[in-house]
Amino acid sequence: MSVFNQSRSRVVQIIFLLIFGVILIQLINLQIFSSKYKLAAENNAIYRKIIYPDRGIIFDRKKKAMLENTISYDLVVTPIESRGTDTLALCTLLNIDTVEYKRRMREIIFKYTAVKPSVFEGLLTQELYAKLYENMYKFPGFNLTDRSVRTYPFNTGAQVLGYIAEVDTSFLRRHKEEGYEMGDYAGMNGLERTYEKVLMGERGIKRFIRDNKSRIQGSYENGMFDTSAVAGRNLYTSVDVEVQQLAEKLLANKIGSAVAINPKTGGIIAMVSSPNYNPNDLTGSARRKNLGRMLLDTARPMFNRAIKGQYPPGSTFKPLGAVIALDEGLITPNYGYPCYGSYSNCGVVVKCEHKNAGHAASLRLALANSCNSYFSQVFRMAIDNPEYHNSTLGYLKWKEYMNKFGMGTTLDVDLPSENKASVPDTAVYNKAYGRNRWNSCTILTLGIGQDKMTATPMQLANMMCIIANKGYYYTPHFVDSIEHEQKDDTTYLAKYRKKHSVIHTSDTVFRAVHEGMHDVTVYGTASAIKIPGVEYCAKTGTAQNPHGKNHSLFVCFAPKDNPKIAVAVIVENAGFGATWAGPIGAFIMEKYLNDTIAADRLSEVERISKADLIPDAIKNWYVKKENQRQAKLILEAEAAKAELNAEAKQNISDEEDNSEKLPLGTEKNKEQLEMILPENKITKPLLPQNKKDSSKKKNTNTTTALFIDENKKWLAKKSKA
């Protein structure tokens, strides 16, 4: 053909070249300049399986395990493979209905997709596991997988040990960098939280190749990048399990707290906050139910009063007041004050228990007799110390002493969320009375441990340690050592191994205080409380408080000459320090020092343990709760009956009879409810914390009301059908 067309062959070739050029440019763009595709491919194909190590174990001072790991089983389902499952049989075994089964399935598919195995029912009981295991062949797509959970062989130290729980979204947000994932378990409170990193160990990661349906195809790069799991390390604590158990027993049926510290090391021997709970309640299948119940409980069993409860120290503060005055050089051990039954130098009258002359002729005598006048006077001397010109500066100096003794500051124990309690700042008084318009008289009762001063039981125990040690302490702590201690651990534990010297007063000063406190146990307020074969020092306290009856307090250390244990006990609203707190403290010391309780004293232990000192307000709350629960149960029973009736109605032809019966049943219900509910409204909150509960109460009332409504509606539907 023509030459003209020959040139078109070139054009065609150029078109070919151009298009191939475009393709090559896009390939360069995709393969060389975009890094995101490589990442996307890895996200697609690499499945990281986490291998969980065993958590570390926490031992007491005699190497007894306070908690251990056991295997628990989860029922796991892969929804896409679960077709053909005998749903009815499974529901009967798990004791759920098919509606609940479908709801859970939907939730799993929505949350974790249909192709991934996800937990259908967690933490099965032994019995249920056995039943399911036998019937597993009926449930394709379902599997039983094991998981390590905590058990507590001694059923003790729940608040101290804390608990582990599945991490939630807010936890994940707070611990972004620590590699937690949805479904992981982490320590949520107590030592489990503080030493989470030690106990957790290192999780191993295995990488697998997966396909487009998330099925595992094999290991990635023959396991080149896999890491193996490293087991969590054990903690060795200073806790004595037996002492802890005894202390918990003694504080049963009471609201209060006890802390025992070894003054030589600062190691905490026992720490109890009552009411308590069984730590095993927070592991098994009933975990969620129990946790919910405890969080709503008005007596707050989850609240560790030993480090968070704030109590006015009352007379137990007196030895410290004396030590401060002695160190400032304001008094000598021989200083005496003529008390005749009250202190009235400030206009207001502070009463004293003793009237006989000379009961406060020296520091020793004043301590033994717990003379209010004497310590009010000593406190005033500290505040009005001429060295500091005015009372504000005098108070600041006094406060500085207090802080040194660990009062009004956090001691930094190895438990989370410790409260610093309160030694008020000058600003507090400036606000209350006006700047420079308050003096030692206005705040007089601080001197006998009242006013705005509060302390936690642990602070009081620590104060005892300082007095027992004659001027120094170690920060109270639980963990003495960590298995295979590493550099990080050593730096963390360093603060618990450092001696804090508070004051350097002469030995004689402390001897006077010791003798005074010893006299308390000989002929003073605690004279009735003895420890067989041990001389000890103590101070009782009966603290006035805004929540009703006086708190019963007791601080002590023993033996007198070589203190090995210092204890602080508080029993809320229990009256005199010597009646309840005193014996409890004594038994704790006896158990620790003698390793056993004398046989003739065991009945006394039982008596104290059984004594019910829970305030009425809290008891009323429980009664109320129980009533509500009963009301709900009646409603549910009626609903179940109505359902049965409705079913029967479908079977039996005479419809009229039954349809009349159904609404009648609900009417009955309502009456029953009304009979129960008004009772609940009568009890008025006595404690301030009860206010919250009463509002909660209202909510539950409304929900039960709703329940009735729904029930009616539901019945209406049923009867229509």
Partner: protein, 448 residues
């Protein structure tokens, strides 16, 4: 034997045969990569003949046999039967409307029994190439005439329309590639230019905001008028042409394209085209979709850009040197749908990276150039037109398929020649290429 061998091989272009063989082997290896699973005894499976790669090998064997037959045949046979086969092909395509079998939503297959299916639209490519060549090589044909051009276009478009009616959009588009062959024979360049401009305008409509595009078009028109103002003074028709072109362009951009997308295309097609340029198509505007909803039918499943995304991830993750043979996670995890057929290029891209892809494309380019060279050395028009047709079909297939996998073109089912798994596809291209080789061996002859 030896005499026959020398007779068969005489004049055959061994370069193309070698390239053909290389491509088929690469194809089987690619399919092997897709099918391979660690821990399986691949040799046993291979010999068992149950896997796709062993099936493809069997197909390749069959194709070798057929290629030999074609080489043994007489060149005159092809010219003689060109028209007849074309008519036969068209009849087959029409027959599918009656006895067709539904495979993956398109009624374009005829069941042959024994599990084999025939797609007439695929075979018709060969027949159309032959018929076009036959028509163009008619002794008294003057291709400069509009009438003969129209007839040629008709020959090409008839099977295209039939394929479209069978919902085989991809195959229908392939027939457009014959325009390249016709261009070489003297079809006015304007058609090609207008065609390409139209394509560019459609793409621009999809990607650029309509108002911006309208303003840009108006500006271009205004600048043209300003530059050509002298000529326009002399010749007012020029102004008319410019204004008319501008009006048509804006009309297409404003009304025609949205109309086509909303009323002509099915919802999923519009979505695919939009997703290829990285945009979302709102299905509620689609007429088909609306009528479906009105009819109370189940709302159509919304296909997202999963295919393109996974395909791009596979190719992109290959990087410069690739992840190595059988090491690609996208391929092993079956993340790319239809990877052994339409998306076979992704396995290559992932395993061998840019280097592999570029080399592979160069092999194709070499093949295309070789065919063009062969076309130009033919004495007979029949052979030349046929050769150009083969080159065009191959070029179109390669371009559309590769562009589809790298996200430059909407997804339509078009196979990668000689690589994709599939007996009929391999057979078609084998026949196309070996008829060309037969004709080329007799290039000294003048065939009509």
């Amino acid at each position: 034997m030896s005499t026959r061998n020398s007779f068969v091989s005489k004049g055959v272009d061994w370069t193309i045969v070698t390239l053909y063989a290389i491509l088929v082997v690469i194809g089987i290896l690619c399919i092997f990569m897709v099918e391979y699973r660690t821990g399986t005894n691949w040799l046993q499976l291979f010999l068992g003949g149950k896997t796709n790669y062993s099936k493809q090998l069997i197909f390749a064997g069959a194709c070798t046999l057929i290629a030999t037959f074609i080489l043994l045949a007489d060149s005159k046979l092809f010219t003689a039967f060109a028209n007849l086969t074309y008519v036969f092909g068209i009849l087959l395509m029409l027959a599918t409307f009656v006895i067709g079998k539904d495979i993956k939503g398109s009624r374009s297959w005829i069941a042959l029994g024994g599990g084999f299916n025939l797609q007439p639209a695929e075979l018709c490519k060969i027949f159309t190439a032959l018929a076009l060549a036959k028509y163009m090589s008619m002794q008294n044909l003057d291709f400069t005439k509009k009438r003969s051009q129209l007839i040629a276009v008709g020959i090409v478009l008839l099977p295209a329309v039939l394929a479209r009616l069978q919902h085989e959009t991809g195959l229908a588009l392939v027939y457009l590639s014959f325009f390249i062959a016709m261009y070489r024979e003297g079809l006015p360049a304007e058609i090609l230019v207008i065609g390409i401009s139209f394509g560019a305008l459609v793409v621009a409509t999809l990607t650029v905001d309509p108002n911006t595009l309208a303003i840009a078009l108006t500006l271009i028109a205004a600048i043209l008028i300003y530059i050509l103002r002298r000529q326009i003074k002399r010749n007012s028709r020029l102004l008319m042409i410019i204004v008319a072109t501008w009006a048509i362009c804006v009309g297409i951009q404003r009304f025609a394209v949205p109309y086509i997308f909303n009323n002509v295309f099915e919802c999923y097609q519009s979505q695919r085209i939009y997703s290829a340029v990285g945009k979302d198509y709102d299905c509620s505007q689609n007429k088909h979709n609306k009528s479906e909803i009105a009819a109370g039918a189940k709302a159509s499943f919304k296909p997202d850009d999963y295919n393109v995304r996974q395909s791009k991830i596979a190719i992109g993750s290959g990087g410069f040197k690739g992840r190595g043979f059988l090491k690609g996670t996208q391929t092993r995890g079956k993340y790319v749908p239809e990877q052994h057929t339409d998306f076979i290029f992704t396995s290559l891209g992932e395993a061998f990276g840019f280097v592999g892809c570029a080399t592979f494309l160069l092999i194709y380019l070499f093949l295309l150039f070789r065919i063009v060279n062969i076309a130009e050395r033919q004495r007979s028009t029949f052979s030349r037109v046929y050769a150009y047709s083969v080159a065009s079909i191959l070029f179109f297939h390669i371009t559309v398929n590769v562009c589809m996998t790298i996200g430059l073109f909407p997804i339509i089912g078009i196979a990668l020649p000689l690589i994709s798994y599939g007996g009929s596809s391999l057979l078609t291209f084998t026949i196309l290429i070996f008829i060309l080789l037969r004709l080329d061996a007799d290039r000294q002859m003048v065939l009509r």
